[in-house]
Subunit: 331 residues, 4 copies
């Protein structure tokens, strides 16, 4: 039985808590959150105790920490967890600073603990099926990737101030998808061009960020990737990608709540995509934690490592620089 | 907290057991199954005790029995549960004999206990969304229902010997869907015609049954329903219906494991439907038990009652008679 | 060069006229219609002459007559064309009376002329592709056919008075599809049950007809077919069928004017089906005439013969009788 | 009646010839092609005469020239047609040199003749429906455009030598789509970044061209466009675009030959896209010529002008420069 402490009892923390509770061989023993009420409500509902990071790191019975607290706490918690020799599951990103993220990676390596970063898209049933078919050669050699990644609506500009900007906040996932899909054979980005604009909310522009962006990457082997993103898709959360291979195409569509079609004088109407990430990636969140504990047990490699976290962060930095300069970046 | 005893630790019993375990306010305390090993494995994995019907009915601390044992045990268990004043969730059908099913209904009524029959299709996200839109008038008045209901493969003829025949074994669900969709305003079947044949497995014909069937119903108000069924759809479990209304159509499609499309020289290929009922109705099984305990708590009516079980059984009997005589039946 | 005379300059006559004009090796020389203005407008626009049946049958330079006049003129024109030894393309049905239709068939056979009946659905790109795949064995042995056949709206009851009733007027096409799809190996209907009701327009009931119908057929080999129809589908012309085979399914969907999908707060909206038969079967009408002249030239058999016309008519008669009696009919 | 002379009896010339022959009020009188056999076969089959450019320009009875000859003849024929005061329909592009294309535009303007460039995608039923919905405001303000534009296979590198490179040869259409969709209110590209690689055929690289490309554009108003292209899509001709607007999305899918779905043990299989441009744009080619003569008659503006041809060419030049330099281009 693995004893787990959870940092963060917010939206994503609650998801992980319930998934932890349902996993065989895993016991959620402690919940930490500066907002005492959140911590205690979540802990109570699942039979865990409220705790603090200090107590968690001092508690030899705790094997694993799951980090779902705000981004700016990640690197500190990772470093301390490594020092306390707890295995780590951490939500993306490692840190908004590549330098600090690399420091975390070193700390993890030196402590020789397991550390997985929560790029849940790699566990989405649709996306991972596509990746597996690609790996089996069902569409030949991958040549081109087109990613559409849009949120249903923009949060208030104030909220975005500490986000690191759209490339680090939203596209970090898409950069990871790019690496996962086009980099399977060790190929990697050598050229990146990013641009963007404020079309959704001028207040986002006023804080120096953008809400619409387009990124293109080219790899050493000549593979191409285009990513388009917006903070607002009026029809909901839009999460799709298509891989063109030498013998075919794999297209990953959105998930829908139901398979009802309504035909009437207005047209043939299907369901909108699942509303947002909590719905769309519900199964992915469940599967990534199951994977974490499965691999922790077997000692096999995680599907998403801290090195993946650092690498995606570097692409986000490069995209930010490209957007700001208006010029392409060589990597 | 409601204490629940489960009868039956087979395929469907295991599904219900896990759903019971995850429900707040519900405690699975006992599992009964003549195959001791099945009972004990399931009980252990969920922290329940192995028990017997006698012990369950004698145990005043048990509030609810969930019946997932073979069909021929249902009426006996219902009657004894009613006598012991336990609330009942029972898998379909109530009984292969309408007479015995009606006796069960009387026993339940006299004991004044709650009894819900597990017509899980009414809880399927797609089907129930369609039913709700119909109820809200989104396609006007319902006029016609077309049901496609096919299994991925026929079980051995031997296994089907005690099934009551295809109309009672397979179409019972579809007759319930017919009543749910076209009977919302009290309308009911007045005319039924059924036919069928053996096209899948001659051994099924040798035991006096068929493996392919077609049923048509007409209601008092002139609504029409066609149901087609087969024991074998080579592409998997096919569960669809379409309702034509005066201002539109609602079409319920199959569910798919993923939303990957593969385009290659052979065509554009999507996933097959979910493999069989355990996959397709996974969410429906979860939702029907949640509904049961929610309504048990609130005292509101169940979506599927024992009267619904009896009524579907009568239609199955009528279809059997129509098929055997080759003539339509007035109801 | 084949010289052709056209009877009927109405809606369907105009379609055929333009298709004839575009065919290589074919010359539309004469147009006949009791409404002189219609005949002359159509003839002028295509460089043909206005004529009369008498003149056409007396004109040795005319090789072919295309009959697109009202149903009650068909048998007379067929008989006279046979006597004049003109080859015949005739719109469905041959005649509302099976007896007269059979007389036409005899006249055609005795005159040893070519005669094709316009069951255009057999030339629809989607339907004929399905039929060819079935013939190639791509889904194994055909077992079950489900046909959905609905008009966008009911004509005035007055107009339907001379139509022969819904089974002869609308379902004649579907009976032909049934024979084409399930009868390829000589199999044929041995049992038929039909029912129906008036749900769209009570005036249709007052003239002794129905507007909603459901037919089931069983063949000698045990194949099953269900046909559902309505005079009104609020969403347009609904023309689909599905064939279940021993190793798969072929599903024929509606055609759409465009492939635009609109995603917005209301859902994901695709185009409605093509509005009505002139749109949906535009290509089929073109292809059936091309087939007629191609086979006329080569002497090979037509895809749809006068015998097919008679056979479909007999099924329509049987369905009418079944509906009226409320009982199944053996064939 | 407008008398028309056609230059070019190749693949695309034949398409236009047959569409001209079917247009009311239009008469194809002359066909010119250096390959005498091609000219004479096409002319004969449609009742036109074989001619030469000299004779055509000297013939006062000819009103219109349709130019479907090789690209390097366009500017010469346009200039001479303008001098001879013939109205012009010309296949894209005007010329591979922007300078020469601009000279053509001046010649046309000075001669005060009508000149339309054949960007047939603007007449595709799906694409033009999307454009009209956008223009009606059905998805609010256009913000982002994603274009997928792929050929089924690469022609021999030798053939591509005179093509001007992938951006001028293939993407010229997509640049026009960009201008049509995102430039309706006068908005225009201010920033462009292009990259690409040779992934399909190394011989294409040896002639200094690429076979896979990705272009991003940003407009003055901040709108974004991404175009991805490949000379080879193993599944056929892939022609799609999606426009994200402030209140929704319009997605234009591929067209399919039939609407048959085949469900079997391998999956649910739909048709591949129409094979190549002659099939996909068959209707578009018909509609663009009808539009040309309709507007010629009414004097209203063409949907695609020579100015559009020049503008698309400039974007192709900019993309070529961006790809070659590896840097973004300001426009």
């Amino acid at each position: 039985m693995k004893n787990v402490a959870l940092f963060g009892a917010g939206r994503i923390g609650q998801i992980h808590a319930h998934n932890l509770a349902a996993l065989p061989g895993v016991k959620l023993v402690a919940v930490c959150d500066p907002v005492a009420e959140n911590a205690s409500r979540l802990a109570q509902s699942l039979g865990a105790a409220v705790s603090t990071p200090e107590a968690v790191f001092a508690d030899a019975s705790i094997d694993v920490v799951a980090i779902a607290s705000p981004t700016d706490t990640h690197s500190d918690l990772i470093t301390r967890a490594a020092a306390a020799r707890k295995h780590i599951f951490c939500e993306k990103p490692v840190d908004l600073s590549v330098q600090r993220a690399e420091a975390c990676a070193r700390a993890v390596a030196e402590a020789n603990i397991a550390c997985m970063i929560g790029f849940q898209r790699r566990f989405d049933p649709t996306f991972s099926e596509a990746q597996q078919r690609l790996a089996r050669g069902e569409i030949g050699r991958a040549e081109m990737l087109v990613v559409t990644s849009r949120d249903p609506g923009a949060p208030p500009a104030q909220y975005l101030k500490g986000s690191g900007g759209i490339f680090r906040d939203m596209l970090i996932h898409d950069f990871d998808v790019f690496r996962w899909i086009l980099g399977a054979d060790g190929d990697e980005a050598v050229w990146l061009s990013a641009t963007g604009s404020c079309q959704v909310d001028p207040a986002i522009g006023e804080i120096g960020d953008i809400d619409s962006a387009a990124v293109t990457l080219r790899t050493r082997q000549g593979r191409l990737c285009q990513i388009n993103t917006s903070r607002r898709a009026a029809y909901g959360y839009d999460q799709r990608f298509e891989v063109l291979g030498s013998t075919g195409l794999l297209a990953c569509g959105n998930h829908r709540p139901t398979e009802v079609q309504q035909w009437d004088a207005n047209g043939v109407k299907s369901d909108l995509p699942e509303h947002f990430f909590l719905q769309r990636y519900r199964e992915a969140y469940r599967l990534e934690l199951a994977h974490f504990f499965d691999r922790l047990q077997s000692g096999a490699a995680f599907r998403t490592t801290i090195a993946d976290g650092v690498a995606a962060q570097k692409l986000a930095d490069a995209a930010t620089a490209s957007w700001q300069s208006g010029q392409a970046v060589s990597l």
